[in-house]
């Protein structure tokens, strides 16, 4: 797609329920970084009971929520949005799911005596363990490809706070490798999930303000741009990224 005519269409799932860790910051990063470059930006929301348009967005976003809200959304996701989300992913739309949203990407989330269903978009399961919540600053390393730069090793830094332990199915790729922090389950050194343009992660903080490069990667990928995005003055973004890495102990 040509940059000057492009509009990034974002659909946030459950924007008033799944927003606990300042997920708004992620959406704001996408919006501003599009507009500063003359790209259009359109934000839509799909709440409880709403149907999801599988062709309606270039990027689908699911944030984190409290247990009670997550449970409401899990049931609704399976009933009203699962098939559309599968269709969107199949046509190459970006799906970015953070924290509670990441958990809902998988088959199930077992907590206490009950099990929440998931979208089944990737082969992973989450279990609420008896141990302490996994909380703290976190940094991960990932190899990420772009059609302009080839594959590069990059760092994402953020904050994690989750009671669930997520386990990837056989052959499923994580988003990255844990450098500092707990990651998916505090045991296997893996963080998040990556299946094509479907991305799940426990990194909030929020994620994109601390990792402006990743916001740009998402924009370019979602819009399938033919040329690299114009550079911006990222002095503050770079400082914030450096502080987040430092907070994680890198």
């Amino acid at each position: 797609m040509h940059e000057s005519t492009a509009t990034l269409r974002v659909c946030a799932l459950y924007p008033d329920l799944m927003n606990i860790y300042a997920d708004r910051g992620n959406l704001l990063m996408l919006e501003r970084r599009c507009r500063w470059r003359g790209l259009g930006f359109a934000l839509d929301g799909a709440g409880l009971g709403d149907a999801l348009d599988p062709g309606g967005a270039d990027l689908y976003y699911v944030g984190g929520g409290q247990d009670r809200d997550q449970e409401l959304c899990a049931g609704d996701l399976v009933e009203h949005k699962r098939e559309a989300l599968h269709a969107a992913a199949a046509r190459g739309a970006v799906v970015l799911a953070v924290c509670g949203g990441f958990q809902l990407l998988g088959h199930s989330y077992a907590l206490g005596g009950r099990t929440l269903p998931g979208a089944g978009l990737v082969d992973l399961r989450t279990v609420r363990a008896d141990g302490p919540r996994l909380i703290g600053n976190v940094a991960i390393e990932l190899a990420i490809e772009s059609r302009f730069d080839g594959v590069a090793n990059r760092v994402l830094a953020g904050f994690e706070n989750h009671g669930g332990r997520t386990h990837l199915g056989p052959g499923v790729k994580p988003l990255g490798r844990v450098l500092r922090g707990h990651g998916n389950n505090g045991a296997d050194g893996l963080e998040g999930v990556r299946a094509g343009n479907v991305i799940g992660t426990y990194l909030h903080g929020p994620l994109l303000p601390k990792n402006a490069w990743f916001a740009d990667w998402l924009i370019a990928t979602a819009l399938r741009l033919e040329r690299p995005l114009a550079p911006l003055d990222d002095a503050l973004e770079d400082l914030a990224h450096a502080d987040a890495r430092k907070a994680a102990g890198l």
């Binding site: 708004r24 703290g136 909030h204 303000p209 503050l236 400082l239 502080d243 987040a244």
Partner: protein, 460 residues
């Protein structure tokens, strides 16, 4: 000398040594030591108070509300034992009691007034056996430390249900999470709330919590929203609705960062009150203080006079002259609280010079996500300069940039003393607004004290 007296002397000696060594306030250390020596120290010392004690908890406004209650009760002739510096976990409460304890099983004061951290409420109430408890609000706050809001609400429900019938429970009618605590209480319950649609928000703010009925899970319908999720609401599904408050604020007039005026309506009559603290959030604090004062036997005249005479609690809308610049210090610590500060600043005429300090230490919350939930957009177009400081200074500058403040108006100066200098030098209009998180507030206050502009924060 009793066994407890000996432990008190030991704990107090350590506190004195720490303070002399210049290790900051040392506010809660003697109390922690006393608890280590005598695990039931809080209960034993509180039992010495002839008129018992009262407890205040909330996510936002604890320290200011307690200062208001203290001002009311001082006019009712009470001598208080009060953790006024805001050290509100077990160690801080034990320290306060320790400082007032006298030999021979006596205590210097007749009534205890304690603000208590929301996480410690159950434990501390078990020991204090308060005669009155004020619970004001629950907002999203420091998720890394406190966990989810619903978890705290569940704990508090246990606390409220366990209060004996002879005690008083004072609740905010406008916060559905709080109001619901009155449902199964044995204690005598009174409610307070705002009734003035003219000061309601046009829509629910982004970071609002508790939008769903505590009883049945359906979405509340709001007739008015005043602060965050505080307002007039009902559940269309199960019929739960805001209880009718017997202590109310009507005809509210907000006057920038200086003051707020409202009509205080109580069962005994009403008074026009000019509160020397700003914002609708302080009107809520004043209502809670009035309702608790009433539950403790204060009369309407003492309540109104006490509210009008209150001075800003430490770092809460406190104003200090620094040379020829008037510095207003407004603590920010979570989205709901920060939004009320920002809403108040937006009412100020002219442009704003800011000194914003974001730390990520344990007492601030290590997770700085919340600054992205706070509505800095409310003031973005008014900011003429903002110096950002603290351990996460760049993150805060970034937040302001994405809220719409031009980058040329932003500076990142992580070290607080240098940031203060930079902000004072860049202040055009003779007024500077400092927005620190909790530990940044301590650092800023210490720096101001060293420069001779403010007393040390541990001063009584």
């Amino acid at each position: 000398m009793t066994a407890l007296d000996a432990k008190i002397v030991a704990a107090r000696t350590v506190g004195t040594l720490v303070r002399r060594a210049g290790r900051g306030g040392g506010t809660s250390l003697p109390g922690k030591l006393l608890i280590a020596l005598e695990p039931r120290a809080i209960g034993e010392l509180a039992a010495r108070l002839p008129d018992g004690c009262a407890v205040i908890s909330a996510t936002n406004g604890k320290t200011t509300t307690a200062a208001m209650v203290a001002s009311i009760l001082a006019r009712s002739g009470h001598r208080l034992v009060h953790n006024r510096a805001g050290a509100n976990m077990a160690g801080g409460i034990a320290s306060t009691l320790l400082a007032s304890a006298r030999r021979g099983g006596r205590i210097d004061g007749d009534l205890g007034l304690f603000e208590v951290d929301e996480f410690w409420l159950a434990r501390v109430i078990d020991e204090l056996h308060p005669r009155a408890v004020l619970l004001s609000n629950l907002f999203r706050d420091q998720l890394d430390r406190y966990g989810e809001l619903e978890t705290i609400a569940d704990r508090w429900a246990g606390v409220a249900a366990a209060l004996p019938a002879a005690s008083r429970l004072v609740l905010c009618a406008d916060d559905p999470l709080i109001a619901d605590l009155g449902r199964s209480a044995a204690a005598e319950v009174s409610y307070f709330g705002v009734e003035d649609p003219a000061v309601a928000l046009p829509a629910m703010q982004h970071a609002a919590d508790s939008k769903h009925c505590r009883r049945c899970g359906a979405a509340y319908r709001y007739e008015s929203i005043y602060v965050g999720h505080l307002g007039s609401y009902h559940c269309p599904s199960c019929g739960q609705r805001r209880p009718e408050p017997s202590i109310r604020a009507e005809a509210v007039v907000l006057e920038g960062v200086a003051s707020a005026t409202f009509t205080l309506v109580m069962p005994a009559g009403s008074r026009r009150v000019r509160l020397p603290l700003p914002g609708l959030y302080n009107v809520y604090n004043a209502l809670g203080a009035a309702a608790l004062g009433l539950a403790l036997g204060a009369r309407l005249d003492a309540i109104a006079a006490g509210l009008e005479a209150v001075s800003a609690a430490f770092g809460r809308a406190e104003r200090i002259m620094v040379g020829d610049v008037e510095l207003s210090i407004l603590l920010i610590k979570n989205p709901a609280g920060a939004n009320e500060i920002l809403r108040t600043l937006a009412l100020e005429p002219g442009s704003l010079d800011l000194l914003a300090l974001l730390n990520d230490r344990t007492a601030d919350g290590r997770d700085v996500s919340w600054v992205w939930d706070a509505d800095f957009e409310l003031v973005a177009s008014k900011v003429s300069s903002a110096v950002c400081s603290g351990t996460r200074a760049a993150e805060l500058a970034l937040r302001l940039k994405y809220a719409g403040v031009p980058v040329r108006r932003l500076r990142v100066v992580p070290e607080p003393a240098q940031a203060l200098d930079a902000a004072l030098a860049g202040t055009a209009g003779g007024r500077l607004f400092a927005l620190p998180t909790y530990t940044a507030l301590l650092a800023l206050r210490e720096e101001l004290a060293e420069r001779g502009h403010a007393p040390g924060w541990w001063a009584p």
